[in-house]
């Protein structure tokens, strides 16, 4: 059944059960959020998405309030703006403001909303408890001095990965994200998938591997398929100055059909072999047991000459090729074509069994 409501003077029709946030967005309103995540259970806790239903005493969090027939909603009433500004100021009061060196600079909700609502500083600055977690793991930086306690990391850990490594400990202002007994991630069930980084709306969680190499917001992102196991996860290679500087993921199932943004430790943090100084950059020819650099022409001519020689001397079936489960379909196709058509043998295989 459809219901009708008025949002910022515009009438919208939505199915019963629609949350206000979706109705508001349908009406074109830009609703700011921290804790809301369409892939995770609702929290309704950051209170950034509050809107004003006409005739109600309080503001409501639009992410957890079902739209009702006949509701009249203002999404940017003076009360709403005041509440959002205060929420931002309260977050800012405990936030380590190091935007200039922050990995999330440019795609940080806190930064964006402070800009949007003109919040330059907080009136509520007082005592600051440092919550930075010095965690020796090589993958995930846990700078809870930037945490806004949206708990998306906890929910992603539970509801996407299922590692259930982290939770909220203590309560009130002292509540923070922690593993059991507030230890290090390596001593918890954490599998370093980095889904927590993916959902973090601020700079509290970031990749140590990518740190300092390029802010994700400024990187070019190239959607591709992971090079590791056979699951076929889609990931985004972050590129800066023709160099891979990180991996992020796209959560849209239309672009990430298998994994919907979720990755594993290898996919998210195992990319920097690309830049390894040990990469081969030139053909090598072995002479007297030692490799020397060679030109492509020299190497390929020599290879062709050797292969031809064996083929002529012992027949095509004295040659064998191992193609690869890591190269593309197109390359595998050409490899077997080379073996079959150019050399004339079916001795082609790859490591499917290993």
């Amino acid at each position: 059944m459809d219901i009708k409501l008025t949002i910022d003077g515009k009438e919208v029709v939505v199915p019963q059960g629609t949350m206000l946030i979706d109705a508001c967005r349908q009406a074109g309103a830009d609703i700011p959020t921290f804790c809301f995540d369409p892939d995770l259970k609702l929290a309704g806790s950051c209170r950034m998405c509050v809107v004003q239903p006409k005739g109600w005493r309080n503001l409501v969090a639009s992410c957890v309030t079902p739209a009702q027939n006949g509701m009249v909603i203002e999404t940017e009433s003076p009360d709403v703006i005041e509440a959002r500004k205060v929420v931002l100021e309260l977050m800012l009061a405990r936030h380590k403001l190091t935007c200039h060196t922050c990995e999330k600079d440019g795609e940080c909700n806190l930064q964006d909303y402070c800009y949007r609502y003109g919040v330059t500083e907080s009136r509520f600055v007082g005592k600051v408890h440092s919550l930075f977690k010095d965690d020796s793991n090589p993958f995930i930086e846990r700078d809870y001095d930037k945490c806004v306690m949206c708990t998306r990391c906890v929910r992603a850990c539970d509801e996407i990965t299922g590692a259930r490594a982290i939770n909220v400990m203590d309560r009130g202002h002292h509540a923070k994200i922690a593993t059991s007994f507030d230890g290090e991630l390596a001593d918890s069930p954490c599998v370093f998938c980095g889904q927590c980084i993916m959902v973090c709306p601020v700079g509290a969680l970031s990749s140590k591997i990518a740190a300092g190499k390029g802010k994700p917001a400024q990187n070019e992102k190239v959607l591709t398929t992971c090079t590791y196991c056979g699951t076929g996860c889609t990931l985004e290679l972050n590129v800066k100055n023709d160099k891979v500087v990180g991996v992020t993921s796209n959560r849209d199932p239309e672009w990430s059909p298998v994994n919907r943004g979720a990755l594993c430790v290898k996919g998210r943090f195992g990319w920097d072999f690309i830049n390894s100084p040990e990469r081969l950059t030139t053909p090598l020819i072995k002479e007297n047991g030692e490799f020397r650099e060679a030109s492509w022409d020299e190497a390929l001519n020599l290879a062709a000459q050797k292969i031809k020689g064996i083929k002529e001397g012992y027949g095509p079936d004295s040659l064998a090729m191992f193609s690869s489960a890591r190269i593309t379909n197109e390359e595998n196709y050409l490899a077997q074509k080379l073996m079959r058509a150019a050399i004339g043998s079916n001795n082609v295989d790859h490591c499917a069994r290993l």
């Binding site: 309704g44 806790s45 209170r47 957890v64 205060v86 929420v87 306690m149 909220v168 009130g172 202002h173």
Partner: protein
């Protein structure tokens, strides 16, 4: 002269609260018997007609609350809120210690009305002896057959004021952090273990046997029309008789203090009274001639709440007390939503600053702004009510703040 009117506490100290037989001797379990002779729908109507409203914070009509519970699924729960954490409040403890069987009977009546066979009593961790008492009382009642098929289990809280909020309480029974849920869904539809659940407090349940036994009209005729019945009050602070009383709900606040309470301690003058626990408004002496019922208290910007009456004499430092209260909320905020988690902490900071003579007018403005947003935008009642002591004292006792500023 106004007097106590004891319904729930009529047989206080005359019967053993653990013993169903004692209770039956004074007319107990008749209400349940009558309830069970009725159609559940009619029973809910009867409770509605009595006008009984929740004796907790929201004052919601009990029968109405029950009527929201759907017929299916079959598994439903009756939950008793015995997590009275409002400082200065101990009336539910008294009701249990004096008349526990009435609570059990009330829960069973509710169980019959909504079709639930399982009740839970969530007792605050500060009352281990009440847990023991209740367990014995339940055992005795079950043995006597008085409860029939209705079972009650006692669960103990562990020191969290926020668990007095019904959905936080449910979370706690489920073994979770006591973080309130967003609503809807309301517990009546999706409560304990996501099943329909009625949550009422001890006093509300304990009224039910008397309503059923004596009739809805009888109950509706006691005290204030819009909030009938009696209310157990606990008097604390600078009061001669620091004890509990049960009074009809049209009783005047002045009489609570000066008649039953015996006046301000040491014959001093009254400066303020805070009703309903720590989240209540501070009431100045000029408003004392207000009846204690829910709506009358609301009309003067206060709340009956838990029925705690905290009396402050003329020598008391309001800012110091509010500072203390701000610390209470900072300690008890669950930490889920931003306005409450950060707001209670900053309120406490600013109150401390003012109380220590370091505050400025700007701090008072900031306090007001913070209070406004917390009240409008917090997820649950705790954050919404936490600023009330601040706003009410800024309204009635602003000079106390101003004289402490730099």
């Amino acid at each position: 002269m106004a007097q106590e009117y004891r319904v729930l506490l009529e047989y206080a100290d005359k019967i053993n609260p653990e013993k169903a037989s004692d209770y039956i001797k004074v007319g107990g379990y008749k209400g349940l018997e009558k309830a069970r002779s009725m159609n559940p729908k009619d029973l809910i109507e009867e409770v509605k007609k009595s006008g009984l409203r929740g004796r907790g914070g929201a004052g919601f009509n009990a029968g109405m609350k029950w009527s929201f519970v759907p017929q299916y699924p079959e598994t439903k729960y009756v939950v008793c809120n015995l997590d009275e954490g409002e400082p200065g409040t101990y009336k539910d403890r008294i009701i249990c210690q004096k008349n526990a069987q009435a609570l059990l009977e009330g829960m069973a009546i509710c169980g019959y009305a909504i079709g639930s066979k399982q009740g839970y009593i969530y007792c605050r961790g500060e009352y281990p002896f009440v847990v023991e008492l209740l367990k014995n009382a339940i055992g005795n009642a079950k043995e006597s057959g008085a409860l029939g098929e209705f079972d009650i289990e006692v669960r103990m809280g562990a020191g969290a004021y926020v668990c007095g909020e019904e959905t936080a309480l449910i979370e706690s029974i489920e073994g979770h952090r006591g973080e309130p849920r967003f609503k809807p869904p309301f517990p009546g539809v999706e409560g304990l273990w996501r099943m329909p659940t009625v949550v009422n407090n001890v006093e509300t349940f304990a009224c039910l046997p008397y309503i059923l036994t004596n009739g809805a009209e009888w109950f509706a005729g006691i005290g204030a029309k819009s909030y009938p019945g009696t209310k157990v009050l606990t008097l604390t602070g600078d009061i001669e008789n620091a004890t509990y009383f049960e009074v009809p709900t049209d009783y005047l606040l002045r009489d609570v203090i000066y008649e039953l309470g015996g006046g301000v301690k040491g014959g001093k003058k009254l400066k303020a009274v805070q009703v309903g626990g720590t989240s209540g408004a501070f009431i100045p002496p000029q408003n004392l001639d207000t009846p204690i019922d829910f709506d009358s208290m609301s009309a003067i910007g206060a709340a009956l709440g838990s029925g705690a009456v905290f009396v402050m004499d003329e020598t008391r430092d309001i800012v110091d007390i509010v500072n203390r209260i701000a610390k209470f909320f900072e300690h008890e905020s669950c930490g889920q939503c931003t306005p409450c988690r950060e707001g209670t902490f900053r309120c406490k900071e600013i109150m401390e600053k003012i109380n220590n003579g370091r505050g400025s007018l700007q701090d008072i403005e900031n306090l007001k702004l913070l209070a406004r947003v917390m009240m409008k935008a917090s997820l649950c009642g705790l954050g919404q009510a936490a600023p009330i002591p601040i706003t009410s004292t800024l309204t009635h006792f602003e000079y106390e703040y101003l004289r402490k500023l730099v």
